[in-house]
Amino acid sequence: MENFEPRIIAFVCNWCTYTAADLAGTSRKKYPANVRLIRVMCTGMVDPKYILKAFLEGADAVLVSGCHPGDCHYINGNFKARRRMKLLHEILPNFSIPKERLRLTWIGASDGIMFADTIDTMVDQVRKLGPLNEDKRMVI
């Protein structure tokens, strides 16, 4: 438990948060290596199945991050993502996957520092929560 390193899967939108992560990199801003980025074209294309799959295959937390309201490259993809996340937030806590393990954030392309800070905070929070599934023989 002390050496627990959380595994976080992040679905980041091509136009904002992925660019922000790139900016964090080019400006030599460090953030924990616990996060695995998956670039998607828009948060609106993140199917809840992707998130469920991540949790069932061993992720301790999932981050979905895209453009601020009004900035979506596809006009309203992030609003649709928000409704889906709301639904997941209603359903997953029934099975001890609290909101802290599934986050939606808006991080614009110029917010490299904010991206690094977000990952920092999330890793801290998840580290405190501990691993999600320890039973490797669980029905998945």
Binding site: K49, L52, L87, T105, V139, I140
Partner: protein, 376 residues
């Protein structure tokens, strides 16, 4: 507004049958979908009747509930046509039709919905062993027993879990409601609930009747009882499935037959993603997953399937309990799905099957809303 009529015959069923017969004779509807006793077997299946004489085997009040007819209504109405069809539905079936209309899978334009207060249903396994053979005598006996004891009779042990925790056994959206009479075992009361229903009843030349008096009190009592059962069941289900590990135990006898999905009235995709090649994993993938974890229960993706179904239909679940009815290994799915659906629907302040006008929560969005969902 609402008009009330009474039909008296030798029994509840005979009275209901004479109503269906004269409904078809008016010519206002071309066909009627109604639960009907099949020749020789005594199975009660929804049947599309066009000849008025064929209504003599209709059995709308039986506790047999082999499938949710909303899917059949979708088949009958998914394309516009000139013929008008009447359907007899349980309240949960009406809710499912409403959801399907919102999901553009059914249409209400040429549909006349007839319903009654629901007397609860038995699981197939219970009805088919002992009650089916008793024939229509049993239906009359069952309704009398249920009504005289306000749903606290001995049959409570036989009814399905979903009915024990039903959210609303009284029809919300309907054109005509036909109910057995509390005070007289040989009479049904027919009520028009819409202009279309009133117009049809006017054609039938029925005797006028007084509105039933003690209805409201009895309804309140039934709803309270159901509410208590629901609370109890939800609590026990939540304890059984408190985390993913426990949920895995809950589903451990699931064989991925997907019968629950087929039986679900609001699971409407023509091709379910779980049947596509997305889930035809490469043989190597199974072995790799097993090597990573140490072992892999096969069939795999069981919990993934059920969680996905909760996401897909949680907002539309009408609590008919057909998922549990269809399960070959008797997993009590209805309690779990209804408890999760209850949370999901409350989160969006939405009631499935409540009204046609209300948008399905995932079919719309607003710019300024749900601000607590985002951020860390």
């Amino acid at each position: 507004m609402n008009s009330y009529h009474a039909i008296g015959r030798n029994s509840y069923l005979d009275a209901a049958r004479s109503f269906f017969k004269s409904l078809l004779e008016t010519g206002e509807v071309q066909s009627l979908l109604v639960p009907l006793r099949q020749d020789r077997t005594n199975d009660i299946m929804p049947t599309l009747v066009s000849d008025p004489e064929d209504t003599d085997k209709a059995d709308p009040f039986s506790p047999s509930f082999p499938l949710n007819s909303a899917k059949l209504v979708s088949r009958l109405t998914r394309k516009k046509n000139r013929k008008r069809v009447a359907v007899f539905l349980r309240p949960c079936e009406i809710r499912a039709v409403v959801e399907l209309v919102k999901l553009k899978q059914a249409d209400m334009e040429n549909l006349v919905i007839i319903s009654s207060d629901c007397f609860s249903a038995f699981p197939n396994s219970v009805f088919n062993t002992g009650f089916r053979e008793k024939g229509e005598e049993f239906t009359n006996e069952y309704i009398s027993a249920r009504m005289s004891a306000s749903f606290t009779d001995d049959y409570n042990g036989s009814i399905s879990e979903a009915c024990r925790i039903c959210t609303d056994p009284f029809p919300g959206i309907a054109d005509i409601v036909i109910n057995p009479d509390h005070s007289d075992a040989k009479q049904v009361t027919v009520e028009s609930k819409s202009d279309a229903g009133g117009h049809i009843l006017a054609q039938m030349g029925l005797d006028e009747a007084e509105p039933p008096k003690d209805g409201k009190e009895k309804r309140k009592k039934v709803m309270e009882e159901l509410g208590r059962n629901r609370e109890e069941t939800f609590q026990s289900i939540q304890e059984q499935t408190a985390d993913l590990e426990k949920l895995g135990v809950f589903f451990s006898s699931c064989v991925n037959c997907y019968n629950c999905r087929v039986a679900c009235p609001v699971c409407y995709c023509r091709e379910c993603v779980f049947n596509t090649d997305v889930f035809d994993h490469e043989p190597l993938q199974y072995i790799n997953r097993s090597q990573t974890r140490g072992s892999l229960r096969m069939p795999s993706d069981t919990m993934f399937f059920h969680l996905t179904r909760m996401i897909h239909i949680g907002l539309s679940c009408v609590g008919c309990g057909q998922c549990a009815n269809a399960c070959p290994n008797d997993i009590p799915l209805s309690g779990l799905f209804m408890s999760v659906a209850d949370k999901a629907q409350k989160g969006f302040d939405y009631t499935s099957g409540g009204s046609i006008e209300e948008n399905h929560p995932l079919s719309c969005f607003f710019e300024d809303e749900l601000n607590d969902v985002t951020g860390i």
